[in-house]
């Protein structure tokens, strides 16, 4: 392994200063759960490593100006245990609690999960369904904001240039009448890379018993998690019922089939996703289904 220079900035200004001379051979390091593996297998060969895990500004979770704001270097443990995330973006807290293992959640960060662009990233469906935007800042302090699903440029690649860094994830706050859930299917319960993951965010009028709005995001069935208007349309304007749940599951199944038509895992995934659709529907509408 070739040697590299390490910078360990403790605040954002220092981190941006380190980025001034960044090239394609500069790598940002946060939790390390992907980085260390890539470094050792030689798929990355940096000459400079900027360790941002100590940058204080990137480690807060706060509510501000109608947004839930999560610093890019927040760990999954921090996110899953945050009262604020549990209250305002429950599906994200759930997704965070199902990442890897306790050890991985203690190190891995949400910014790293987004930047590494794994198709199976667990935070992605939740963030996509929550309409999350990502703030990206360059070495000169200039910032831009893009939808979270636009960060990925294909498997393992992202759209950031060398002198940019993800600083924050911004989630528009939902009203009281919204409900959210996340479900994941892996080969085993813990430590599994998702075979399929899904987040569902709905606005539910309890008095009328009607679904007013719905956002569904599917992960691990394409290069990046995506919304499916087709399945959303099945839900909106309807009352949660067993029949609607069946129809929803069937639609999600066709969406999976259309998304990965040639993949060898398609026959499995198009069937398995139905179970996931049932689970998530039951999580959100257990009250209506009992009636």
């Amino acid at each position: 392994m070739k040697k590299f220079t390490v910078y360990s900035p403790k605040n954002l200004d220092d981190a941006l200063r380190c980025l001034k001379t960044a090239t394609g051979q500069t790598k940002l390091l946060a939790g390390g759960t992907d980085f260390v593996i890539q470094l050792r297998e030689g798929s990355i060969t940096p000459d400079t490593v900027i360790d941002i895990s100590g940058v204080q500004e990137l480690k807060c979770i706060k509510e501000e100006d109608g947004f839930l704001k999560i610093g890019a270097a927040c760990t999954f443990t921090q996110i899953s245990e945050s009262n604020l995330v549990q209250q305002k973006a429950f599906c994200l807290a759930q997704a965070a609690s199902e990442v890897g293992s306790e050890q991985v959640r203690n190190a891995g960060t949400i910014g790293g999960n987004i930047a590494n662009a794994s198709p199976a990233a667990d935070s992605l469906p939740a963030l996509v369904a929550l309409n999350a935007e990502v703030t990206i800042v360059d070495a000169n302090g200039k910032s831009r904001s893009i939808p979270v699903e636009k960060v990925s440029a294909g498997v393992g690649k992202n759209n950031l240039v060398a002198n940019e860094i993800i600083t924050e994830i911004n989630i528009p706050l939902l009203g009281e009448d919204w409900r959210t859930a996340f479900c994941k299917l892996g080969r085993r319960k813990a430590l599994a890379i998702a075979r399929i993951n899904m987040a569902l965010v709905v606005r539910f009028d309890e008095s009328a018993g009607l679904i007013k709005d719905a956002r569904i995001a599917l992960g691990a069935v394409g290069t990046v998690a995506f919304r499916t208007q087709k399945a959303e349309g099945i839900l909106v304007g309807n009352k949660p019922s067993r029949e609607l749940m069946e129809k929803f599951a069937e639609t999600v199944s066709t969406v999976v089939e259309e998304s990965i038509p040639t993949r060898s895992s398609m026959p499995y995934k198009r069937t398995a996703v139905k179970g996931l659709a049932f689970d998530i529907f039951e999580k959100l509408f257990s009250d209506s289904l009992k009636k």
């Binding site: 392994m1 040697k3 590299f4 220079t5 390490v6 360990s8 390091l29 939790g31 390390g32 759960t33 980085f35 260390v36 593996i37 470094l39 050792r40 490593v49 360790d51 895990s53 443990t77 890897g100 293992s101 306790e102 050890q103 991985v104 203690n106 190190a107 319960k189 813990a190 430590l191």
Partner: protein
């Protein structure tokens, strides 16, 4: 591109070290500090044999760069009990037969220790979830879970 100076506290002992930037935390512990109680299994964060506590939280030391431990506290199995006096969790592991080949044990004990610090009376399901990042190919887990349960009943978390 020389060495990096770090200050790290391992098992309560302070070290001022000059390290190669390419070292992982597990390499630092095993090869430089000769703390070979920490085991390397898969090297990719699947098995948890290399679990140590970094500022009190379990991490896979094979997935942390050594320089990231700068200014932090590391607890390895050597810091938990001694050969003369085992930690109560270790005693429960022995009593319950939760150790067979022993390779996963240091990581397993540290995860259990961290769990009981955080949650002194965990339910069985909570124990299972917390220890899910530590694989054991010998015991079938049941005895390990029993050991953690009995350590919990004895109020182990209050001991130190």
């Amino acid at each position: 591109m020389g060495k990096i100076a770090i200050k790290v506290t391992v098992n309560g002992k302070k070290y001022d070290l000059e390290i190669d930037p390419r070292l992982r935390l597990i390499d630092l512990l095993r090869d430089e500090l000769r703390l070979t109680g920490t085991k390397e299994g898969c090297g990719e964060g699947e098995c948890g044999a290399c679990t140590v506590l970094l500022n009190g939280a379990p991490v896979n030391s094979c997935l942390v760069m050594a320089f990231q431990a700068d200014g932090k506290k590391v607890l390895t199995i050597e810091g938990l009990g001694s050969e003369e006096k085992m930690h109560p969790i270790q005693e429960e592991f022995l009593k319950q037969g939760a150790v067979q080949c022993g390779y996963c044990t240091p990581g397993m004990v540290l995860s259990a220790y961290s769990l009981l610090k955080k949650n002194p009376q965990p339910a069985r399901e909570e124990i299972k979830k917390y220890l899910a990042g530590n694989l054991c190919r010998c015991t079938g887990y049941d005895k390990i879970i029993k050991a953690v349960e009995s350590a919990s009943q004895k109020g182990v978390s209050r001991d130190d």
